[in-house]
Symmetry: C2
Subunit: 427 residues, 2 copies
């Protein structure tokens, strides 16, 4: 029976234990060696004595990051840093690491990001990097728990599609047998078809693909999109689902892994709802009062977002964006220059975009025209509006970008296992 290193502290002094993991460091004093061993839960010192170990000579030459299985006795009165060590009885060598390592695991020397990504399997062995993905996994589990309680159906819509969600730009082309196809940029149109299908409330977690040439610390060409759509709700209700899903999941994560997060320098505070809301128009006014010169229709610059972040400090919504700035499926407000839309910001970064959507067939057709789109490209979609489409609203949330901002990482690639960008297709 294997014991994880983090669980050793619950065992009695003198217990026999088997642990499995990586050789992080060794120190050798003639006929005695100390191995700092690591698994995904922690690290511990193992002692091996020449007298009592058949394969001591082999072990003596073991390289850093080799994999071993240790059977031994727990000593809780050790003078090692943790006050515990395993006195090895049998140590099996499972895999020997080559030298030199292309990237250090415990070295303080920082490698450039390309070297780290080229050797991601070593980079991810650092506990502070593993923790990002444990956090991400649990965050998503929390979001799913919330959505499940709210009776959302989790769905899977196709990623190989015949038409562009947003109308043509930034698409990756796929050779699909004899046909031309694309990778989907967003499940938006399919979520809406499911609303027409009577699914009432759907959400999806899956890859989304954007052939954007921008190569910044916030952009990925493939990312994990969390999308929801619900029937018979408006933009305001969609915002409530969003703030409640995020606060539920983040606060659950803090409860689960607060100590570990703090240990590795990730500071998170419990989230309170409702999040503050500011309209686009009030935002413009506020920013102009604070030294900027913005007109209706202007996007918020990084500088503008920094000013708003200082005001709100954390999550906040910007609502009621101009029609010209939102996609064709966005529902107009009573004033048709504005839409029933919102962005969720975390400090100075947009993490979610959402809106009430158009459900009226005629209004949708008019919007295709206004946006210069060819309605024939969307036949599979607009057909679903002709035979009973309820009002509906929803949002889409980039998982990696959310985690990047929650954990104050400085590059979205830090919260992406194997990032895809303009220049990177491997590993």
């Amino acid at each position: 029976m294997r014991t994880y290193i983090a669980d050793i502290k619950t065992l009695d002094d003198g217990s026999d234990v088997t642990i499995k993991g990586w050789v992080q460091e060794t120190r050798k004093i003639k006929n005695l060696m100390f191995i700092i061993m690591r698994d995904n839960t922690g690290s511990i010192q193992v002692t091996a004595k020449k007298d009592s170990m058949k394969n001591y000579d082999q072990l003596y030459d073991i390289t850093r990051e080799s994999v071993i299985s240790v059977y031994g006795t727990l000593n809780k009165k050790s003078i090692s840093k943790s006050g515990m060590e395993i006195q090895g009885i049998e140590i099996e060598i499972l895999s020997i690491a080559d030298t030199p390592l292309p990237l250090g695991v415990i070295d303080r020397v920082s490698a450039d990001f390309d070297t780290r990504l080229n050797n991601r399997f070593l980079d991810l062995r650092k506990p502070e990097h593993l923790l990002i993905f444990q956090f991400e996994s649990q965050l998503l589990f929390g979001i799913r728990e919330f959505m499940n309680k709210e009776n959302f159906i989790e769905v899977h819509t196709p990623k190989i599609v015949a038409a562009a969600t947003e109308g043509g730009a930034d698409l990756f082309r796929v050779e699909y047998f004899e046909k031309n196809a694309f990778l989907n940029q967003s499940p938006q149109l399919y979520k809406e078809i499911l609303i027409a299908s009577g699914f009432d409330k759907v959400f999806e977690v899956g890859p989304a693909f954007r052939a954007e040439k921008e190569n910044t610390v916030r952009h990925l060409n493939e990312f994990t999109s969390i999308d929801m759509e619900a029937a018979f709700i408006d933009d305001k209700k969609a915002m409530e689902y969003l703030e409640n899903a995020i606060s539920y999941a983040v606060n659950r994560n803090i409860d689960l892994m607060h100590t570990k997060l703090e240990e590795y320098g990730y500071h998170l505070e419990k989230i309170e709802t409702p999040f503050p809301r500011i309209s686009y128009e009030d935002g413009i006014e506020y920013l102009n009062d604070h030294g900027l010169k913005l007109n209706f229709g202007d996007d918020f610059s990084p500088e503008a977002n920094k000013i708003l972040a200082e005001k709100f400090n954390g999550f906040y919504f910007i609502t009621g964006w101009p029609s010209d700035m939102r996609p064709f499926y966005t529902h107009p407000d009573t004033n048709p220059a504005l839409t029933k839309s919102f962005d969720l910001q975390l400090n100075d970064i947009e993490v979610t975009s959402g809106a009430q959507r158009i459900h009226n067939y005629k209004m949708l057709e008019d919007n295709f025209m206004k946006k210069g789109l060819n309605k024939n490209d969307f036949e599979f979609y607009e057909k679903a509006f002709k035979f009973g489409m309820p009002p509906h609203a929803g949002w889409g949330l980039g998982l990696e970008r959310l985690v990047m901002n929650l954990l104050h990482l400085n590059n979205v690639r830090e919260s992406t296992l194997f990032p895809r960008d303009r220049t990177r297709l491997s590993p």
Copy 2:
């Protein structure tokens, strides 16, 4: 406040209630009309009287599958089939359906599958079709709950990749900026890199892409793959995780939705573990005793699978497949002609494939050679074997195929919202 139709039975007679949904059927008697209204939880009769309804004339002409919002009073002494009806006070028309419907929702006339898929948004309004996807969503939630309890980290690996998982065949090509890329057939290689990264236990749910030209009732070119991989385990432990995950999730689903499943003719029985196991070699012998003529190295034909299905009736494992029949990363058994591999069968259909994987770098290199693969294509992968790779095992499971077989559907497209096959790319 909206009430879902299924929740109406818990309300008191005479309660005021708002329901929202689709007009399934209407009957009209001069100044009185009856509307059978449907939402995603059920259906109920609504009465509308000319005397008390401002928009009665509009309502009188309402078409099937239009969307309405009804505010009215609950009458629990109705002579309608369910013994309940809503006496309408205000009925708002939210969306009018065109006529004729390209596909009926409640008609008993069965449409051909292409017509159904072309009008999937109407096809999915049938409660027996919706139920398949409610089942699928909850099944996956159950699997995740199990994996989370077992400390698996849910991960997302890239779908745009530079190399073929299985070595070149059946790949969809993607134009990735200036480079050539492919859609991933399976997260296998990435899961293994994560094992080398010290992630210990990972699982992923995501799309997998196979450019297979076969167009059968069991094949999809894009499907949802559930993949797991764990360090320091063998094929036998991987089989335990699999049977326990499936039985946990299926039995949870039966508890949750037994009544509804029975109502629509889906019969499921509680699953018991462990599942029976038969080795490939014993399978050959058993099949030859039952009239077939199979040699070592032959695959099991549909006829062979039917014979085994009669013997086992439900889930069973076939273990120890010949090396020639398994991918390059499969760990050989003590007898090198065999592998530490398994298939999970549900009756006569394979639903999962798994194995202990090779972790020794030298053995992996030899296997590239044996299988005629170019190791340079796999540099990003085999590098992770050089610096400490633990023994590991795992499996991959097709979600839609599992649901198809659990619910005894006759086509995997029935458990796929928007199937992709050789000829279908839309909707």
